[in-house]
Amino acid sequence: MSDHNQAVAHQVGGTIKSFSVVWVILLVLTAVEVFLAYEQVPLLIMLTSLMGLSVIKAAMIIAYFMHLKFERFSLFMTLFPMLVLCIVLMLIFMPDASRAFTMRPQ
């Protein structure tokens, strides 16, 4: 990714065909998500698979629609580790959420 020498400001990669393909994939993934909701899968499996699919969709949007695939890899490295880290860190809230659940007054 990083060795796209021609990657200057207004010569971005991607073709109309590739964008359309991505769009179709996104729609299909959304349809899968909706199908999962229709099937009423157990909550935890549902949550995991929905988040997995959403992350894939987000990655496709970022990579193709937002052209990040065609930028230097260093831009990706500058931006995303810190965001992902912060979001993962916020999961530390969750033990307290279940604590608030179990310790609530009867």
């Binding site: 020498n5 990657a7 200057v8 400001a9 207004h10 010569q11 971005v12 991607g14 109309i16 964008f19 359309s20 769009w23 996104l26 729609l27 959304t30 998500e33 909706v34 999962l36 909701a37 229709y38 009423q40 909550l43 549902m46 949550l47 929905l50 988040m51 699919l53 959403s54 969709k57 987000a58 949007i61 970022i62 193709y64 629609f65 937002m66 052209h67 930028e71 230097r72 260093s74 831009l75 500058t78 931006l79 995303f80 810190m82 965001l83 912060c86 979001i87 916020m90 999961l91 809230f93 969750m94 307290d96 959420a97 279940s98 608030a100 659940f101 609530r104």
Partner: protein, 209 residues
């Protein structure tokens, strides 16, 4: 931009140009997206926290019409992202008329989303009596998180529509360059991307058949 172009690979971080070989505006928009993504993440975390800690979380969305309706909204937003990519593509090839047309199509998608969303809100508030502070199906936090999250997102969509209108107007009059269109596109795709998390977390996980 000429300097940016002139910056060669060997001078990646040694100064004299962007180490990413992109304009500052684009980088600035990316930084904004990172921080805004974290704001949304914090909201979604708050939503998850509330949901985990609440015993009577409701599942008020029937598959039809609720989920089908929001799926159509998702379709509008996703398709508007495609038209936005087309607009950026056209602008990169110097085709301003096509660019304006594609941006207008994007605005159309955004407006459709807002209208559908407003309809849904209206139904929820007026017919099902779910408001930001109350909810007949269970915990009032459902209304709070639902309207809080979707409201913040809808604000972003509306801002995006205004932003794109300005861009379309200026591009039509021969102002602004490809970078400006691309930067507005980044914002629009981000708004789309956020919806890709709100839709499953708020709607699909609150669905009952």
């Amino acid at each position: 931009m000429s300097d940016v172009k002139a910056a060669t690979m060997d001078s990646l971080w040694t100064g004299g140009g962007s180490p990413y070989a992109i304009g500052s505006k684009k980088f600035g928009m990316w930084l904004f997206i990172i921080s805004d993504a974290l704001t949304f993440s914090a909201m979604l975390m708050a939503y998850t926290y509330c949901r985990v800690s609440t015993p009577d979380w409701p599942t008020p969305f029937h598959f039809s019409p609720g989920i089908v309706f929001s799926s159509i909204m998702t379709f509008c937003l996703l398709s508007s992202s495609l038209t936005m990519v087309m607009a950026v593509h056209a602008m990169n090839h110097g085709n301003r008329r096509a660019t304006v047309a594609w941006i207008l199509a994007t605005i159309g998608g955004g407006v459709a989303f807002v209208v559908l969303h407003a309809t849904e809100w209206h139904t929820l508030i007026v017919e099902e009596h779910v408001t930001i502070s109350s909810n007949p199906f269970g915990s009032p936090l459902f209304g709070a998180t639902f309207f809080g999250l979707t409201g913040l997102h809808m604000t972003h969509v509306i801002i995006g529509v205004i932003y794109l209108s300005i861009i379309a107007f200026a591009v039509g009059r021969g102002k602004f360059n490809a970078e400006d269109v691309e930067v507005s596109g980044l914002y629009w795709h981000f708004v789309d991307l956020v919806w890709m998390f709100i839709f499953p977390l708020v709607y699909l996980l609150s669905a009952k058949v």
